[in-house]
Symmetry: C2
Subunit: 354 residues, 2 copies
């Protein structure tokens, strides 16, 4: 199969464009490997990075000078502009000038839901958002390596949950240890992470950030960890009983675990996402997807939701996560799998037991 | 003085527009009080929030349905669109339809460096980025309350540094305790934070994320913490000697502390930012600003940099942060102050001692 740069250019050609201009940070990471900082919101020093991929030419990454060092080993041509400093700040103006020169009158296939209006004014462009989203679903070998590395971060976090839960500790205290374990795995901060950490019973919610609510005997703790590492996301979920599990919790856990196994057994090339969803969801009524692709975003193609038409292909990576909730208890379990020519490989290594 | 909504509308009128359309998340927070989630990057479920402020009409906040509950108490009219779900996702399409109806042919004063091209296509707009940036510099009383609350988070983090530093601990281990202390102050995750945590000597860098480098006797630890709380940022910096401080460290610390005091003494209405910078920087050569405004971003007007023309006004809030670096040692100290009619009030309460 064509690699992702070839697929992106094919998408551009189908749309009558001469180049791809990636504007969504996730698409920039996908095409260049550059991990854009996002966790503090928009930067006063820099515009979000952009990537230009022309037919026949080298990929070009547009970043502030501050990011040049981190970007040198990516194999892209770098175009930089002044970043952090004590003079006047005009990152958007800098990028506009650079971009006009680089595009040089070509029609670009871009993401106008991410490209700012001020950069689009003099640009001839077509909307390639949907095509690029589909092209991102199948992962190249180097991307699989990055996802595996991100999954190891989630594994480390999930391991830490089991080591540190006990009655009396708050969700926030557990979260602090979980994040520290993920940061130890990475050797640096894990600032870009989506995490649910909620304990039952008595809660309506099956997701949400940690609070100062304390764990107690008989509670179920749902920990859903999606960390990003080197631009690629993992995802994971466990449900742990604090102390002895109730009979109803054991029963719910067995059902959900069975559904996750059913999902993994069913994954193979050609299976339609909506059919996989129906198989996993049968008779249950969890109010969320049965799974979703992961890559440079935490939710992308293939979406495992009712009626979804995407057919699985080798190289697609999904987090599968059936759940069961009711009467103040809840169970959700999630592992990451990659579609192989024969079926699937499980990338996650974390313990799913109750 | 006119409140921020009146100032924003004045800016729009000066530019010939009938309404303000805030597109930068920071400007949306400023006009509505809504704290947009940013730390995980773009959401698959929602566009970043937008705010429309028409002449004479109520403020309107455009968010996904998931955010409606958090936004109900803000005193804005809410316009929502479908968010998280298991059906087709089209947040940008939803927002485009909503926005067209709301704007209803008016010319809007907006931020085209933040507004996506796809939303600007059928919009009559003028660029108000610079005017809105200036209007944000003076804080209303409710904003000062939020900044004070954010400063308490930074204070808690700085207190934790002093309590947990000791030889043998790594920067990352200290960081985990610091963040846990900030999260205890907030009662929830502090996911939007800019933090430097670096120890010397031997390091060229005076900023950067924590690593697995271990603290040792004689090291200096620079901890720069800028957490966001309820949409508003604080900032803070301390420099702590691990064990007995060297003579050179004590000397550098005394110089920097003197410069911070000089800065605070000099702050009053009418002082020009560039003059304040010159006063603080005199004879030192730190490669960064002497200070900067904070609010719904972590670096905004007034910027305390060489030659900057902004004259201070009551209600402006600044983080002042002189530094001194050399020979593998570095000291930086930072407190937040608000300009008052007579001079300034210090909002920070953290210990500045070495």
């Amino acid at each position: 199969m064509a690699d992702r740069h070839e697929r992106a250019l094919e998408a551009a050609r189908r749309l009558g464009a001469d180049a791809v201009l990636a504007a969504n940070v996730s698409t920039v990471t996908w095409l260049t490997g550059f991990e854009a900082a996002v966790s503090a919101g928009p930067s006063p020093w820099a515009h979000t990075p952009l990537a230009l991929l022309p037919q026949g030419g080298p990929r070009v990454l547009i970043v502030a000078e501050d990011d040049a060092e981190a970007a040198t080993s990516l194999g892209c041509e770098l175009v930089t502009y002044p970043g952090y400093g004590i003079g006047r700040l005009d990152p958007v103006g800098h990028v506009a000038r650079v971009l006009t020169a680089l595009v040089d009158g070509r029609t670009v296939a871009t993401e106008p839901g991410s490209l700012p209006a001020v950069l689009a004014t003099d640009l001839s462009f077509v909307d390639a958002t949907a095509e690029l989203g589909r092209a991102r679903a199948v992962k190249d070998p180097d991307e699989l390596g990055r996802i595996r590395a991100a999954v190891r971060v989630a594994d480390a976090g999930q391991r830490a949950v089991r080591e540190c839960v006990r009655p009396g500790r708050t969700e926030l205290e557990v979260w602090a240890e979980v994040r520290a374990a993920m940061e130890a795995e990475v050797g640096g901060p894990v600032s870009t992470v989506v995490a649910d950490l909620v304990c039952h019973p008595g809660l309506e919610r099956f997701e949400g950030p940690p609070t100062d609510r304390a764990l107690a005997e008989g509670h179920l703790l749902i920990t859903d960890l999606a960390p990003r590492r080197a631009g690629y996301w993992a995802d994971s979920c466990s449900t742990i009983s604090i102390g002895e599990a109730t009979a109803s919790a054991r029963k719910m856990h067995a059902v959900v675990r069975g559904r996750l196994e059913r999902a993994i057994d069913a994954v193979r090339p050609g299976v339609v996402a909506g059919d996989l969803d129906a198989l996993v969801r049968e008779g249950l009524n969890y109010p969320h997807h049965s799974g979703h692709g992961i890559g440079t975003t935490y939710h992308e193609e293939p979406r495992i939701v009712p009626g979804w038409p995407t057919a699985l292909e080798p190289g697609m990576v999904m987090a599968l996560e059936p759940g069961l909730y009711g009467e103040g208890e809840g169970v959700r379990l999630e592992w990451v799998v990659v579609v192989t020519p024969e079926g699937s490989d499980v990338l996650s290594a974390h313990d799913l037991s109750l």
